[in-house]
Amino acid sequence: MQTQTPAIPDTEIQAVIDKDLHLEAPLLPILHGLQATFGHIPDNAIPLVGAALNITKAEVHGVMSFYHDFRKVPAGRHVLRICRAEACQSMGGKALADETLKLLGLDWHGTTANGAVTIEPVYCLGLCACAPAAMVDDKVIGRLDKSRMDKILQEAGA
């Protein structure tokens, strides 16, 4: 399902790394920078990051894999994060999430076959007083229901 991504030239990766090298403890900012630029952390970035920070590839990989945010492969064109946490559950968030996954034939972290949308779980968006909540890319959505969800999925091209 995941199409092969064209290799990203080392020079482009290096340019992103170099931007944050002046920071104190720059690894997380660098990983965020790579992901923001390329949509994921390309495989060939790992040795470059390691070399820039004088740490091993295994260490870079170990850090990357610890955090939910960093991806090894690109997500769909849009990422829909649905809140699974308690306040959203109290307003029917679980049923809505289950229904949405079923409708799309996906599990959490799955991407629709046309590559339009990846569904990620999230544990609280700080929108707990207007639950259930979700976020499409950087756009927050509160008081979600079936019809708003349908509209979101349609607009995202799912």
Binding site: L27, P29, L31, F66, E86, S90, C124, C128, V140, G142
Partner: protein, 505 residues
């Protein structure tokens, strides 16, 4: 005419951006000369988007305003709410930490100053380090991140530590379900946090600060980054803070989606570019924190409360509260609730009053069945405990905790076995992996609860044992307190754990 439309994410999540856009278009059509201000939220989320219009005679509130309402709003045909300060939910509050939130333009430093901002920092700049620490200690301020540790004592440890570099780290990882106070103040009054961090830095002798802000809050990240830039340009941050000759500067760092990174030592590891594993204590972060240097780690609300303490005096702050819980707490009322939002009040209000009177009961109109207080590691409180005063020791005495002061309300449709299962599942997803009882125990916990759900009564004592093991064998509160929601659900709502066999009999 001035028109205020909040930029807060909760307001945006309910359509504030679209309403702001419609206001511009409709005002243009009518040839109205308007100034559109994107303020923070006043915290009454059920009224968002809450728009205020000032025609010269004070701000009048309207809400919730939809795009369709905008023509009527501008034509003076929409029914209003009057002044925000007169809305009962707001009128009952004591706003100290959140005094400016919703009122000012979050990125306008002059507006901030006109509303009491920087007065605290100016008075702190005239004090010595020990005087600053004493003021914080005298205020009775305790950490608002969850543990309630006295802020003055922490600062004193860092002040007394000898080092060439010390740090102030603000914990803005706010991962608890039902909480949004950190987000709300960072989006609505970011200079308060910056001012509080500057006072902390000057007090303990730290010249550098960081805010570790969760990636799930893109709007707060944008506002905080802009606010830091403004503060640097205007000399609030930098080599010469407000012309005092003292240095303090700061940076925003973004988390990467791990709940456990809200734990202070995990947070420090994460900031250092490591896996967010929890560290053994000692050494205390106050002595060996970020990059091994003495570091104050404080929650956003702890730090954002510091300016008002210095503006109005420690005694003024300490005058509010109950027992050893001094001052006010921004309580976040969320979930299945009619009037959800942020309610800042002196410690001591009974839980039931908050849920039933202030928040008006459930959104669904069905009876309240359970209330989880203090996030995913907090206990589920049954209605029979509604007379518990909202304060640290008082909740502790009832087998609960107030944590970061989130209240999540559930109506009678809640299945408490499923909530207990979720607590275990959450722990297994978010465990840093260091302790077996947390990493493996939580997975066993899910399986055991599933056995109970299938009708295996023998699994109930196993669950209790497992919770004991997690409590005793966990390094941090993630594994150590997950038994709170699980055991409180089992203890107070045993009928939801009655086995299927029993139910059939």
């Amino acid at each position: 005419m001035k028109i205020y439309v909040p930029l807060d994410s909760a307001a945006k999540a309910l359509g504030a951006d679209e309403v702001a856009e419609a206001i511009k278009v409709e005002a243009d059509k009518r040839g109205l000369d308007i100034t559109l201000i994107r303020n923070g939220t006043h915290g009454m989320v059920w009224l968002e988007p809450l728009v205020e219009i000032d025609n010269g005679a004070g701000r009048q509130a309207f809400g919730p305003v939809s795009v369709e309402d905008v023509p009527a709003l501008l034509d003076g045909k929409m029914a209003g709410l009057g002044k925000v300060a007169d809305i009962p939910f707001f009128a009952r509050q004591t706003r100290l930490t959140f005094a400016r939130c919703g009122i000012i333009d979050p990125l306008d430093l002059a507006d901030y100053e006109a509303h009491g901002g920087l007065a605290g920092l100016r008075s702190a700049l005239a004090m010595s380090g020990p005087e600053i620490i004493k003021e914080v200690t005298d205020s009775g301020l305790r950490g608002r991140g969850g543990a309630g540790f006295p802020t003055g004592i922490k600062w004193n440890t860092v002040m007394e530590a000898e080092a060439d570099q010390k740090y102030i780290v603000c914990n803005a990882d706010e991962g608890d379900s039902g909480t949004f106070a950190d987000r709300m103040i960072m989006e609505g009054d970011p200079f308060t946090l910056i001012e509080g961090m500057a006072i902390a830095g000057i007090g303990v002798g730290a010249t550098k600060g960081y805010v570790y802000l969760r990636s799930e809050y893109p709007d707060a990240i944008r506002v905080m980054r802009s606010a830091v830039k403004v503060a640097q340009q205007k000399g609030l941050l930098g080599a010469d803070v407000l012309g005092s000759g003292k240095a303090f500067d700061m940076e925003i760092r973004v988390g990467a989606g791990a709940y456990v990174c809200g734990e202070e030592t995990s947070l420090l590891n994460s900031m250092e570019g490591k896996r967010g594993e929890v560290r053994f204590k000692p050494p205390l972060p106050a002595l060996e924190g970020f990059m091994g240097r003495p570091t104050v780690v404080n929650n956003v609300i702890s730090l954002a409360t510091v300016p008002v303490i210095f503006e109005k005096g420690a005694a003024h702050y300490a005058d509010f509260g109950l027992g050893r819980s001094r001052g006010t707490m921004p309580i976040q009322i969320a979930g299945n609730v009619k009037h959800g939002g942020l309610f800042e009040t002196a410690f001591g209000m009974p839980l039931g009053e908050l849920v039933n009177d202030v928040a008006g009961g459930t959104a669904s109109g069905n009876p309240v069945r359970a209330v989880q207080v203090g996030g995913p590691l907090g206990a589920y409180m049954p209605v029979s405990k509604f007379d518990t005063p909202f304060a640290y020791e008082e909740f502790d005495g009832q087998g609960g905790l107030i944590g970061h002061a989130g209240i999540v309300v559930f109506d009678d449709s809640v299945d408490m076995l499923q909530m207990a299962r979720f607590a275990m599942e959450f722990c297994s997803v978010e465990s840093c992996g260091k302790c077996t009882p947390c990493r493996i125990g939580s997975v066993r916990g899910v399986e055991t609860i599933d056995r109970i759900a299938r009708g295996d009564a023998a699994a109930i004592p196993l669950l209790t044992d497992l919770c004991d093991t997690m409590t005793d064998g966990s390094l941090c509160a993630l594994g150590g307190l997950t038994p709170y929601p699980v055991m409180s659900a089992l203890t107070h709502f045993p009928e939801d754990f009655a086995t299927a066999k029993e139910a059939a009999e």
